[in-house]
């Protein structure tokens, strides 16, 4: 390998380590979130360097969009109530800091012993781990096996073949995990369904123009990636995440398209992916094949159908993550405002 490439890889790895360190040690939660978002972007570059385009696509879609949005939205909640919690701001903000965001590392003093112990054991683990990684033998790998059966799988891209044909169980249960996580969020919130956004400030003309132009483009890009998954890097997850991000963008700009859908349609959208997997698996069992085994002649079409259903479901679920978390605190925020304003008038 050429030295210049080693330089690039070394630099990216150094940046990864620095960003992770800063994300864990930054004095304010907001800084942590920014470092973490930047870490996601650098990770996408690392996947490209490791020649893993499918993972790079997924990381780019989730890292730049969904994750940052969820973190920033949660910060709003932690920040709003920080006034009631004196401990949250025990660390002095740097001069000039707008003290909107709570300090994160409010570590109580007199805890040096556990700190030393944890640091020492993690350092020791690091040495052992690096040693073990360096001494791993070369060889093995499943590239050849995945390539060998490719023509029987119905698609031309090995990663899609692994995801939807060789290891269909994984993907099916993964859609199940998404569904479970959403139910968990519903339980943690204590109610079902998401309300419309209450706009704290209306989007400007420029923004709503952009979103009108961007949302169809995002849906187009999602369809493109879904189709591309058959023969090149791309596929259901990436396209589902982009669909979900399009929904989040629409919601943020005040277009209540999805929130106004009838609840039944939303539930159907959420269950579609899991259900289609189940139906196809059951049909395969009834016709005497193994669960989720596709007939070779029609595997391509069936996989595309399953992928489309999965993408729509993933999009809905990801939108629901954000919309639910985003709308839950809205009425409460209004109350808080009212309370604060009332409190101000008294003195």
């Amino acid at each position: 390998m050429r030295p210049v490439e080693i330089g690039l890889d070394g630099l990216l790895c150094l940046l990864l380590l620095v960003l992770a360190w800063k994300a864990l040690r930054a004095p304010h939660l907001y800084q942590s979130a920014i470092y973490f978002i930047a870490l996601g972007l650098v990770m996408a570059l690392a996947w490209v360097r490791l020649a893993a385009p499918d993972v790079a696509l997924a990381e780019a879609a989730i890292g730049t969009g969904l994750l940052g949005v969820l973190l920033i939205d949660s910060l709003r909640v932690f920040a709003r109530d920080s006034k009631t919690d004196p401990d949250a701001e025990s660390e002095e903000p740097p001069p000039g800091e707008i003290n909107v965001y709570p300090a994160g590392s409010a570590r109580p003093s007199g805890r040096t012993l556990p700190m030393i112990l944890v640091t020492a054991s993690c350092g020791l683990l690091a040495i052992l781990l690096v040693e073990a990684i360096i001494e791993l033998p070369d060889g093995g790998g499943l590239t050849a096996a995945a390539q060998e059966n490719l023509e029987r799988s119905g698609v031309d891209h090995p990663v899609t073949a692994v995801l939807l044909n060789y290891r269909g169980y994984d993907t099916w249960l993964e859609v199940g995990v998404l569904l479970l996580a959403m139910l968990g969020i519903f339980c943690a919130g204590g109610r079902v369904g998401f309300a419309e956004t209450r706009q704290s400030n209306p989007p400007g003309h420029l923004l709503s123009w952009l979103i009108r132009a961007l949302a169809p483009l995002m849906i187009l890009a999602a369809a493109y990636l879904l189709w591309l998954g058959k023969l090149a890097p791309g596929g259901a997850f990436q396209s589902g995440v982009i669909l979900g991000s399009a929904g989040i963008l629409l919601r943020l700009a005040g277009f209540q398209v999805i929130s106004r859908l009838p609840p039944l349609a939303v539930k159907l959208g959420l269950l579609l992916g899991f259900g289609v997997f189940l139906i196809f698996g059951g049909a395969a069992l009834l016709t005497g094949r193994a669960f989720l085994e596709y007939p070779e002649a029609r595997a391509g079409e069936l996989i595309l159908l399953v992928e489309t259903a999965a993408a729509v479901s993933i999009g809905f679920t990801i939108f629901a993550f954000f919309a639910y978390l985003n709308s839950r605190d809205q009425p409460e925020a209004q109350e808080n405002h009212a309370r604060e304003e009332g409190g101000n008038q008294k003195p």
């Binding site: 050429r2 210049v4 930047a38 385009p53 730049t64 707008i98 990636l225 943020l252």
Partner: protein
């Protein structure tokens, strides 16, 4: 030619690494957000360069996603920070 692309990529990575100083210094949340924005844009350029260097046009789709979704975080920040830093709280 490949060496040129990789060298340019190294330069751009150094560039964004330097811009992290702005996250440390702040002073406002918006300043820090700008660094994330610069990371996004430079990320697009880096991905295009690396796609060219490795001869894999597939990586261009990653840059496409970056460019499509780059706006989400900023819009989310601007639209949701209202209740925390809004005029109601500031006057309090």
């Amino acid at each position: 030619m490949d060496t040129f692309y990789v060298a340019l990529a190294i330069f751009l990575v150094l560039n964004v690494a330097a811009s992290l100083i702005r996250v440390i210094r702040g002073p406002t949340a918006a300043d820090r957000l700008m660094t994330a924005q610069l990371f996004g844009t430079t990320g697009v350029a880096l991905l295009l360069l690396l796609a060219e260097a490795s001869g894999q046009p597939a990586f261009r789709n990653v840059a496409l996603i970056f460019a499509l979704l780059a706006i989400l975080i900023v819009i989310c920040f601007v639209q949701t920070t209202g209740s925390a830093a809004g005029p109601g709280n500031r006057e309090a």
